[in-house]
């Protein structure tokens, strides 16, 4: 990890991920959402959300592609890490700032590009952080199981995309990323 970023940068990332949103309207309280398990629309929205939200889709495809490059066992484990962290983030009810969501999209691309140059533990930490931020960004109103299932299903297209890129691109153009 320390090969990837210095101690101050690492601390800055941790502090940045812990900051809350600005409370511009003090007193605007939101009670805990009552999840209605009979409300199929809410569940369906949770399952389909990963495919219709650009940031979620981008991160999900990125992690799926990353999982493909890592091989079956580590790839499956990193997928589980991402989905687990996402569920944890959603359940935590923490509010995060929008730049962190944007950062998770950028990180998914950077991670794919620089995976081979990173320390072994770095992708795991970053994927967990990305999943957690993505989970936090949804707040109340989403069904955790539905969102996790949708995200887990969405990792496969990412892996397939990576497989297609590796299989069908001309050898000379082969991307360094998808080996």
């Amino acid at each position: 990890m320390m090969r990837f970023c210095s101690v101050p940068t690492f601390i800055a990332i941790i502090l940045f991920s812990c900051c809350g949103v600005t409370q511009a309207h003090p007193g605007h309280f939101h009670p805990e959402e009552e999840i209605d398990e009979f409300d199929e629309r809410s569940y369906r929205d949770s399952v389909t959300h990963p495919f219709v939200s650009f940031d979620h889709l981008a991160v999900m495809l990125g992690v799926g592609a990353l999982a493909f490059t890592m091989g079956i066992r580590p790839g499956s484990a990193i997928g589980v890490t991402f989905v687990g962290a996402l569920g944890l983030g959603l359940e935590s009810g923490m509010a995060i700032s929008v730049p962190l969501v944007a950062l998770s999209v950028i990180l998914s691309g950077l991670l794919l590009l620089n995976q081979s140059r990173l320390a072994k533990v770095a992708p795991w930490c970053l994927v967990a952080a990305m999943g957690f931020w993505q989970g936090c960004s949804h707040g109340a109103g989403f069904d955790t199981l539905g969102l996790c299932l949708g995200t887990a299903a969405g990792l496969t297209p990412g892996a397939l995309l990576a497989f297609a890129l590796r299989s069908f691109q001309p050898r000379r153009m082969r991307l360094a990323v998808i080996r």
């Binding site: 605007h28 939101h30 009670p31 959402e33 009552e34 398990e37 009979f38 629309r41």
Partner: protein, 155 residues
């Protein structure tokens, strides 16, 4: 333990002496899988296909109907004598994301310090009651119409 998949009847036709109650909190009616114990000690395992309603029969024997009943809970009942005040109260409480129940001339909302603060600040006439709270829920057909507007219903 008796398994329950759906309600047997919306109401019991038997006299109250032949009804066994299973009292549960409001949130239970939002859950599909849970367990409960009736007043006579009979245990039930719920794995529901559809929503239950308070007062519905969940199980019948030769001797009794087992009826599920929602427990009462404390609410603020705000008097809304005019349509304008009702809209204003609904809007302000809705802005706090609290569910409300609309009854003739009144609006009910669950007890919470934030709501209490707003009611006192706005000086709305109100009282605190213990009632079966049934918040407003969009009927499925209305929800579907909102999700898929026809040319006539599109704004």
């Amino acid at each position: 333990m008796q398994a329950v998949r759906k309600m047997v009847a919306e109401h019991s036709l038997r006299p109250e002496s032949e009804q066994v109650r299973l009292e549960v909190e409001r949130y239970r009616f939002l859950k599909r899988r849970w367990q409960g114990v009736a007043a006579d000690g009979t245990e039930f395992d719920f794995d529901l296909e559809s929503r239950l309603k308070t007062g519905c029969v969940i199980y019948q024997t030769d001797a009794a109907d087992y009826v599920i009943v929602q427990k009462t809970e404390p609410v603020y009942q705000i008097a809304t004598p005019t349509m304008e005040l009702a809209a204003l109260v609904g809007w302000k409480i809705g802005n706090l994301h609290f569910p409300v129940q609309i009854v003739d001339g009144f609006l009910r909302v669950t007890v919470h310090p934030i709501v209490k603060g707003m009611i006192e600040r706005e000086e709305w006439p109100h009282e605190e009651l213990n009632v079966v709270f049934q918040p407003l829920r969009l009927p499925p057909e209305v929800a579907a119409a909102v999700a898929n507007p026809t040319p006539e219903t599109k704004p």
